[in-house]
């Protein structure tokens, strides 16, 4: 679906969607609002900011952001591209012989509207941070902290079609390394383009976000599983992301590490510097940011 084909919410429908707590609606419209607000900031000669407004907009368009990273030689999960519908997704997966993908909102955050989808021999399953309620037409989507599992094709079709309407894209599901039987990835906070803070996020679900009940491990728990050159490559990648966002003084990256030691950047978060209790060498990410401002 092209962006200009997406009917904007207006009037009473807009009011209702805004008041409907937890509802996933108008994701693209919200993004346009962000772009508008950021452009006003850019035009304000007196405005001072730590992250550049246009780079913030880039990070809030996840598909464009991933393609931007590819252009900067940053490893990301192979992209399937925009998702127009369930049927189109299945065709694309079949063409690439892929059986497992992640579907994400193009303009989502905090794991809103994410689906881990897998198919095999006529069987299919979707696990998601979105739950469905009957809508007219189709379904309404809500964020949930309790991961939903859908095994029925009609339900999965409704879910993916509804996400497609909000603007979604798909990428290859990279199998994450496991620790204590939990799937792990990394949240890395960059300060002035360099990785300064790290935490391992772990979950029995494919989604590791801490607000979804993900457990935390110290970095050494994972680091010991990765060969030394593999770890150096992760650090290089973090710096490359920093270079791809030269006018952002901080960023939060989600990085998947694979069993074989390879890695891929899953997401770049323009406001991803807050991780509760994350202190490295006596400094929080905010301490580190203040230091860069003073020096």
């Amino acid at each position: 679906m092209r962006d200009e084909d997406r009917a904007p919410l207006t009037g009473a429908a807009l009011q209702a969607a805004v008041r409907d707590i937890g509802r996933i609606a108008g994701a693209h419209q919200s993004f346009l609002g962000l772009v508008e607000a950021m452009s006003r900031v850019e035009l304000d000669a007196s405005a001072r900011y730590m992250n550049d407004p246009s780079e913030i907009c880039l990070a809030f368009d996840k598909l464009r952001c991933q393609r931007h990273l590819v252009g900067h030689h940053v490893p990301v999960p192979p992209l399937l591209g925009s998702v127009a519908s369930y049927d189109q997704l299945r065709e694309q997966m079949a063409a690439r012989r892929w059986s497992r993908v992640f579907i994400k909102l193009r303009h989502g955050s905090a794991a809103s509207g994410v689906v881990a989808y897998e198919i095999m021999r006529g069987r299919e399953q979707a696990r998601s941070t979105a739950e469905m309620a009957p809508g007219d037409p189709g379904v309404r989507l809500y964020n949930t902290r309790r991961i939903r599992r859908y095994g029925d094709r009609d339900a999965i079709r409704a879910l993916i079609d509804a996400l497609a309407k909000e603007g979604a894209y798909a990428e290859r599901w990279i199998p994450k390394v496991t620790l204590d039987g939990l799937a792990c990835d990394l949240r890395v906070v960059l300060t002035a383009g360099k990785p300064t803070h790290w935490i391992v996020r772990a979950s029995r679900h494919p989604f590791t976000n801490l607000h979804l009940g993900g457990r935390r491990f110290e970095i050494d728990a994972l680091r010991s599983r990765v060969p030394e050159d593999g770890w150096a490559a992760v650090v290089d990648t973090c710096r490359s992301v920093g270079a791809a966002f030269p006018r952002c003084s901080y960023l939060g990256l989600d990085v998947a590490i694979e069993r074989a030691g390879r890695h891929a950047v899953l997401e770049v978060n323009a406001f991803g510097d807050y991780v509760k209790g994350l202190v490295v060498a006596g400094r929080t990410p905010h301490d580190a940011q203040l230091e860069t401002l003073w020096t």
Partner: protein, 307 residues
């Protein structure tokens, strides 16, 4: 839970990924792992080619332990048939193989009940010195008739084990078996048995058995009750009913079991016991592993590993 992590040691040796460029430089001291992850699969690399390279190595005869992870496209539904066939064909080049792991992959690589196994019966004839066989995933699995003089340890990890495979285990002629571990699983994922299918394992067969694991079971309470009915079993040191849905009812039955009292250790970790159930088990006067007890959600209890 310490399930579904990358296996770090197997057959008493640290695990190394086999790299044809390096060869079997640690043939005598390491277990070797062969796997084709998604990227190698997309590059058309084959697990059978890696195995061919391994058995062509001058030191292949020294290898005692092999692990097979993703055999290429496992998550797409490719079954273990071709790799098992290749392992069997290569048996003369692996005369000292004593430990074999088929399906060493995590749920992030492929859900356990989605792993397509195969008929592995030819392995038993091909590797007469095999002492340990570990299989993850039981969809499509058949052991066939098993007759083997060396096998000491048999493990089948499953999200739902079929009664047909359990019958093959019951009927297996494995006089040296010391460790039998079956993950029975959930009836939504392949478990189609009843207590009668597993109860015979509690009382007889396998005279040298020291460890019996009937793990990850949604009928853990029934298994506990059945164990309470059998006489003490000489030689059996450990009963492992972990990862299941046992309640205090099962714990109470075990606490009154003569056979349980004769054990060295009872493992019931990751079940649904309360303090009362744990107190009952403590009266047995044996080692009890009971960590990580779960609480039911709206009356529903789930085994640890199903999907």
């Amino acid at each position: 839970m310490t399930i579904s992590d990358a296996t770090e040691a197997f057959g008493g040796k640290p695990v190394r990924d086999f790299d044809p460029g390096v060869g079997l430089s640690e043939a005598g001291t390491a277990a070797y792992r062969i796997a084709i992850d998604w990227e190698r699969h997309e590059n058309d690399e084959k697990a059978t080619d890696l195995l061919a390279a391994l058995v062509s190595d001058a030191r292949a005869a020294e290898v005692t332990a092999l692990l097979f992870g993703d055999w290429g496209g496992t998550a797409e539904g490719n079954d273990a048939g071709p790799i098992v066939e290749a392992i069997v064909s290569a048996s003369t080049r692996l005369p000292n193989l004593t430990a074999l792991f088929l399906g060493d992959m995590t749920f992030e690589e492929c859900e356990i009940s989605w792993i397509q196994q195969t008929n592995v019966s030819a392995l038993f004839g091909a590797f007469p010195r095999l002492e340990e066989l570990r299989i993850r995933g039981s969809t499509g699995l058949s052991l066939g008739p098993v007759r083997h003089q060396s096998l000491r340890k048999l493990v089948i990890e499953s999200g739902g084990l079929g009664a047909d495979v359990i019958a093959q285990v019951r009927n297996a002629e494995v006089p040296r078996l010391e460790h039998l571990e079956l993950w029975l699983g959930d009836d939504g994922y392949g478990w189609d048995g009843r207590i009668d299918d597993v109860a015979p394992l509690l009382q007889s067969g396998f005279p040298g058995l020291k460890y019996l694991g009937l793990r990850n079971s949604q009928i853990a309470d029934h298994i506990a009750a059945a164990f309470a009915q059998v006489p003490a079993r000489p030689g059996l040191e450990v009963l492992d009913l972990s990862l299941g849905t046992m309640t205090d009812e099962g714990a109470q039955a075990l606490s009154e079991s003569t056979a349980a009292r004769a054990l060295r250790k009872l493992d019931v970790h990751h079940n649904y016991l309360t303090a009362a159930g744990l107190r009952a088990l403590a009266t047995l006067g044996i080692a009890i592993e009971a960590s990580d007890q779960q609480q039911d959600s709206d009356g529903c209890r789930y085994v640890a590993v199903s999907e």
